[in-house]
Point group: D2
Chain length 226, copies 4
C-alpha cells in the first residue's frame, strides 16, 4: 500500500520533470552554448532558495508530528545549514561572484518557492514537506545532463562544482531516508495528498525558476541564434 504510494508520488514527480525538460531552460542549455552570465544567474537563484531550506525545514515543527519524524526534521535542518556557501564558493572559484548580486531580489519563481516552503512548514508541517525532500534529494540525477553540458561549455572541474558534487554524493543515502520517512509517516490519504501536492508545487516552481533564468538570457529577436 505505502509502496504503491511512493510509486504514485514518483509518477507525479516524473510527469513534472518531463514538462520541465520541454521548457526553455532545458532547450537553451542543451542546444546552445551556455554563457557565463546564464550560469551565474542560475547559481544565484540556487543561492537564494538554498539559504532557506534549513530554516523552513525546522519551522515545520510548528505542526504536531511523530517524534521519529521530528528527529529527521532536525537532522535534516542541521545538514542543510550553510549550504548556500557552496554556491558562492563555486561562483567565486571561476570569478563570477559579485557580493552585490547576492543582495538583489530573487526571480519570482525563486521567491515563490522560498515563501511557499515556509507556508508548507507552518500550515501543513513535517509530513507534507517530505514531498519537497522526495524530489529534491533526487534532483541530481535529473539535472546531471544540463550540468554536464554547462561544465563542458564553461570548462568547469569538480573544484568548481562543490554544491552539485557534494549533494550528488549524499544522494543515495538521503533518498532512502526520505522514502522510508514517507512510507512510515505519510500513511493516511490526507497526508499522502499533501505530500503529492507539495512535491508537485515545489517542483513546478523549480521548473519555473529554471525557465525564468533562461528567459533572462533569451537571444534577442533577429539575432543569429533566434
Amino acid at each position: 500500500m505505502s509502496q504503491t504510494f511512493i510509486q504514485t508520488l514518483r509518477e507525479t514527480v516524473d510527469a513534472e520533470w518531463a514538462q520541465i525538460k520541454q521548457g526553455e531552460f532545458w532547450r537553451h542549455v542543451m542546444s546552445e552554448p551556455v554563457s557565463r552570465p546564464l550560469y551565474r544567474d542560475l547559481m544565484l537563484q540556487i543561492y537564494h532558495y538554498s539559504r532557506h531550506n534549513s530554516m523552513n525545514q525546522a519551522v515545520a515543527a510548528f505542526v504536531p508530528a511523530p517524534e521519529g519524524l521530528l528527529k529527521f526534521v532536525y537532522r535534516h535542518a542541521a545538514e542543510e545549514l550553510g549550504h548556500e556557501r557552496m554556491v558562492t564558493h563555486d561562483l567565486n572559484s571561476i570569478g563570477l561572484l559579485d557580493e552585490a548580486d547576492l543582495a538583489r531580489a530573487p526571480l519570482p519563481a525563486t521567491e515563490a518557492l522560498i515563501g511557499y516552503l515556509y507556508y508548507v512548514a507552518l500550515r501543513y508541517g513535517p509530513i507534507a514537506r517530505l514531498g519537497y525532500s522526495f524530489w529534491a534529494e533526487g534532483v541530481y540525477g535529473h539535472i546531471a545532463g544540463p550540468f554536464a553540458k554547462i561544465s563542458q561549455d564553461l570548462k568547469l572541474t569538480s573544484k568548481n562544482l562543490t554544491f552539485f558534487g557534494s549533494h550528488a554524493q549524499a544522494d543515495e543515502a538521503h533518498i532512502q531516508q526520505v522514502e522510508e520517512a514517507i512510507e512510515r509517516f505519510a500513511t493516511t490519504p490526507e497526508d499522502q495528498a499533501l505530500v503529492v501536492k507539495v512535491a508537485r508545487t515545489t517542483l513546478s516552481l523549480t521548473g519555473q525558476l529554471l525557465d525564468q533564468v533562461a528567459r533572462q538570457h533569451r537571444a534577442p529577436p533577429g539575432s543569429a541564434l533566434s
Copy 2:
C-alpha cells in the same frame, strides 16, 4: 517621489503582463475556440485562490503596521469574504458546476499563489501585500480581452459573469484606494522593494496559473489544431 514609485511599480507590473500575454493561455484563448472544459478549469482555479484572499489579507495584521493601513486591511478582508461563491454561481449558471471539482487539489501555480500570500502576510505584513492588491484590483482591464472572447465562444451573458462583472465595476474606486495606501505607507526603500517583489511574484504566479490551465487543454500532438 512616491508618485515615481507608483510609476516604477506599474512598469514592473506591465512587464509581467506583457509576458503573460505571450504565454500559452493568451494564445489559446485569443486564437482558438474556447471549450467549456477549459473555461470550467480556469474558473476552478479562480475559485481556489479567491477563497483565501480575505483570510490572507487579515492575517497580515501579524506584522505591526500603521492604524490607517490596518483599517484598510480589515475593510478589504471583509469585502473579499465569500467572493468565491460568485465563481461557483457563474459555473452553475451554465451547468458547469460539479461539487466534486471544488474538492480537487488546485494546480501547482494556484497552490503556490495561495501559500505565498499567507507567507507574505506572516513575514512581510500589510504594506508588502499592497503589491498584490495593486495589480489584482486592476486585473479586469487586462483580462477583458480573453473574457470577451470566452463570452463570445460560450455565449455567456452578464448573468453568467457575476464574478468578473462585480469586480470590474468595483475596480476604479479600489485601484485609487490601493494607490493611495501605497503612496501613504510604502515610503521607505525597503518597503517599496517588498511591494515590488510581492507584485511581481504574485502576478508571475497568476500567469503560470493561466498557462497551466491552458496546458491541460492543449490539443494532442498530431491533431488538426496543433
Copy 3:
C-alpha cells in the same frame, strides 16, 4: 446543549473571577487608598495589551473558520482598533501620561497575555478566541467595584474614564453577539474545550496582571500600612 455549554463556560469564568477577587490587587484597591502611581501602572498594562487585541483577533483568520465567524472577526478587529488611545487619553486627562512609560516593557503577565493571544490566533483560530471575548466583553461588570473605588480615591469623573465608560456601554450588545457566536460555532466537544481553555488561561493571566500591578505598590514591610 449549547445553552448548557455557555453555562459551563460561565461557571469556569466565574470561578476564575472568584480567585481574582481574593488576590492582592482586589484587596489593595478595595481596602487601601489607591495612589495615582498604582492607577497609572494599571492603565499602562491595559494600554499594552489593548494595543494588540485588534491584531490578534484578525490573525485568527489563519485557521480555517466559517464565513459567518470570519465576519464577526473582522468587525470585531475593526472595532478594537486604536482603543489604546482611550487609555492614554484617560491618563493624560489627569496629568499621568508620560510618553516614556509607554515604551517600557509590560509586566510579565501582560507580555504573556499578548503573546498567548497571538498563539491562540495562529494555532487555534477564531472559535477558540471566542473564549477570550466571552469574559472580556463582560469584564466591566466585574471590575466596576474597584473602578468605583479608584474613581472615588482619585476624584475621577466620566471625562477621565473614557476607556472604561465606552466599553461598559458597548457591553450588553457585545456580550450577546459573542454568546450567539459561541452557540453557533463552538459546537463540537473539541472546539468547546478550546473555548474553555482560552477563557480560563486569558482570565488567569489578567488576574496575574492585576496582582503584579498591586505587588509593585506593596507597602514596604514595617510601614504603617503593612
Copy 4:
C-alpha cells in the same frame, strides 16, 4: 559589556526566583507534608510544557538568525525531544501514572507558557528564546530544595527521579553554552531587552504554574492545617 548583560539578566532572574520562593508552592512544599497527588499534579504540568520545548525551539528558525545560533537551536531542539517521557517514567515508577491524566487540559499558567514560547519563536526568534534557556538550564539548582523535600516525603530514589536527575547532570555544560550564545548573539540593546523580557515572562509563568499546582491542594478552610 556583554558580561555586564549576563549579570543584569541574572539579577532579573534572581529577583523572579525570590518572588517564587515566597509563593504558595514553596511554602506548602517546604513546610507541609507533600502528598502523592500534589507531586503527581506537579509532574503532569511539567509533562505538558516539556512536550513542547523541542518544537518551540525549532520553530524559532522562522526569524532570521546567525548560522552559529541556528546550529545551537537545532542541537538543542534535538536534545529536548521526548524528554516528557522521563516525566511519565517517573510517575509510572511509583504507580502515579494514569494515561487519562495526560489528556486533561494543562493548568492556565502551563498553557500560557506553552503558547507564549511558540509566540516567542515566531515573533522574536532564536536570540530572544535564549532568555528562557538561560534560567531553564539553571533551574535545578533553584528547585533542589523542594525536590529534596518531596523525595523525602514520598520516599523517592534516583530511579524515580530521572527527569530531574538527568537534567541536573546536564546542567553545567548547558548553562555555559547558553551563556556563551547570549554573549555572542545578544549584543544589541534591542536583542538584550528581548532576552530579559522572555526570561522574566517565562519564569514568572513557571512560578504561577507552581502556585496553581499548590492551590489545587490547599487545605480546606477550617481543617487542622489551615
